[in-house]
């Protein structure tokens, strides 16, 4: 059976060049970077070279990079790190954030912090003026994601960064989905904290980083040795860190060709579906979006049924974020954008990658068209439209 992977916002395959770069650090260079002997020194050298690569890629200094286990940990370290250091105060974030931020904020509310969850417009954009209006005397942190994982919407981070700086409030951004797809530069963005992850850019899973600008104080969440400038105790995952640096280097070098390629595929996908099917909605189409993400709503059908049909035909896509799958609730991002609940329930996310081909997209379009047509033939909503409906439960 043909297999097509269209879920790159969930995770990406490991680039073979990354795998090659990692291999020696599983076998030959196995020392602990904290050890003073030459085994340790070799590992330490790899660690610091990787840190320099990651720092350079985002316009930071090496000592501003803390390696973590991934995006979720980076978000936790940023939010909790600031909050626990300040001990009390107010946090501003957005209702469309990843659960790693939202659930951490909910948890901080239980700890006595107050949190403002900013709403977004119909396209999923945060209004920088809303950020400004929400600032209070005791605001200790602003956290707004760079690009949304479900819709691909790019938020006005530089503008929000200017506002946060004006008020002297630390500004965190989750850039997990943006990294490797659009330019990520901490100076231009004006961020104090930035979450990164390797496995969304053809790197290994279980590794990420948090950029912490010089002078920004955090409380560490793990205590132990003095690894990662005392911010994250625990022996560093050297093979993964080396892989992360390699993946980032490759992504940086190929960003222009990547952009052109996935954008062309997405344009084809979206325009064909819009032309060949009725009542199709491309969410956030009017907003600036990442080039590879498409969130598409189909009236009168349910996402899980679409996804099962796709899965049976070898096509992997998702509805909302992977974490949402399995829960009956539709995407919190689409609901925050005031997408009607029925349309949110019929929305899927297709996230393209550099290895996808035009043939794969053509195949996906034809399978999607058949699937939607078949499900609408079965659908009581498609038939009942305009007729009298009565609810008996």
């Amino acid at each position: 059976m043909k297999k097509v992977y269209l879920d790159h916002n969930a995770t990406t395959p490991l680039d073979p060049r990354v795998f090659e770069a990692m291999k020696p650090y599983f076998t030959d260079v196995y020392g602990n970077p904290s050890s003073p002997h030459h085994y340790g020194r070799l590992a330490k050298q790899a660690l610091e070279e990787s840190r320099a690569v990651v720092a350079e890629a985002i316009g930071a200094k090496p000592e501003e990079i803390i390696f973590t286990s991934g995006g979720t940990e980076s978000d936790n370290l940023a939010l909790r790190g600031i909050a626990y250091h300040k001990e009390r105060g107010h946090i501003i974030t957005a209702s469309i954030e990843h659960h790693a931020v939202l659930k951490t904020c909910k948890d901080l509310e239980n700890d006595g912090f107050s949190v403002t969850y900013l709403s977004v417009d119909r396209e999923g954009r945060v209004d920088p003026d809303e950020v400004r209006r929400s600032i209070r005397k005791n605001t200790i942190l602003v956290s707004i994601m760079y690009a949304n994982n479900e819709t691909g919407v790019i938020e006005p981070i530089a503008e929000i960064g200017r506002i946060a700086r004006e008020w002297g409030i630390p500004f965190h951004s989750d850039a997990v989905q943006a990294l490797g797809k659009i330019e990520v530069n901490v100076e231009k963005l004006g961020v104090d904290l930035l979450s990164l992850s390797a496995h969304k850019i053809y790197g290994p899973k279980g590794i990420g980083a948090l950029f912490v600008k010089d002078g920004v104080r955090l409380s560490p969440l793990t205590t132990g040795g003095s690894h990662e400038l005392g911010m994250r105790a625990g022996t560093e995952n050297i093979p993964a860190i080396v892989g992360f640096a390699k993946a980032l280097k490759i992504a940086d070098g190929e960003i222009a060709t990547y952009h052109t390629k996935v954008l062309r595929l997405r344009d084809k996908l979206e325009s064909d579906l819009l032309n060949n099917l009725s009542q199709v909605t491309i969410h956030s189409a009017k907003a600036e979006r990442l080039p590879h993400t498409s969130c598409i709503g189909f009236a009168s059908v349910e996402a899980e049924s679409i996804l099962l049909h796709l899965d049976l035909k070898g096509i992997a896509a998702s509805s909302g974020s992977a974490c949402t799958t399995g829960e009956p609730e539709p995407s919190h991002v689409l609901l925050a954008m005031n997408v009607p609940i029925e349309l949110a329930q019929g929305s899927i996310r297709i996230s393209l990658g550099k290895e996808n081909t035009k043939e794969e997209i053509d195949y996906t379009i034809s399978v999607l068209e058949q699937t939607i047509t078949q499900l609408r033939t079965i659908s009581s909503q498609w038939a009942v439209e305009g007729n009298k409906r009565y609810n008996l439960t």
């Binding site: 349910e302 049924s305 992977a322 609810n391």
Partner: protein
């Protein structure tokens, strides 16, 4: 019955790769009823019909039945819902077709789930929608019949 879904557990080495992923846990028969649902559609002048919604997940189904000599001779459904809703509704129509009204009224959601060889635990509520839809359509049929009889009865009285 409540433990039956555990029979669906497969050891990693037994997993059919085609059915892994977040959408796994549906067996072949459920997939078959999902991809080729039986008795889909509507009918002209049904003897009983119902549109029923599941407020817990937003799913919806419509059922029409045709009854001759107290037996369900034809049944059609349409469903807006997840694979579980479509497959259980499809199986329900197969089970109800040919049964007498009294027999059909005895079909339970558990019967549908058993007939399908089990559905994931979180999908069990879907089978309730199919069965409730059938019962409401039967009630609709019985009410219509009663209305007809009442009318005849009233007319009969006025004639005498």
């Amino acid at each position: 019955m409540s433990d039956d879904w555990k029979a669906l557990y497969k050891k990693p080495q037994e997993l059919d790769v085609q059915h892994t992923g977040p959408l796994l846990l549906y067996n072949e028969l459920v997939i078959d009823h999902f991809t080729n649902p039986r008795n889909v559609g509507e009918m002209e002048n049904p003897h009983g019909e119902a549109v029923i919604g599941d407020p817990s997940c937003g799913d919806e189904m419509k059922v029409c039945i045709k009854v001759e000599e107290n037996r369900i001779v034809d049944i059609k459904f349409k469903s807006y819902g997840c694979p579980g809703a479509i497959a259980t509704s499809s199986m329900m129509t197969e089970m109800a077709k040919g049964k007498t009204i009294e027999e059909a009224q005895k079909i339970t959601d558990d019967d549908v789930v058993i007939a399908l060889g089990g559905v994931p635990e979180r999908k069990k509520h879907c089978s309730l929608m199919g069965v409730s839809g059938l019962l409401e359509a039967i009630n609709d049929y019985l009410n219509r019949k009663k209305a007809v009889i009442d009318t005849c009865y009233e007319k009969g009285i006025s004639r005498s």
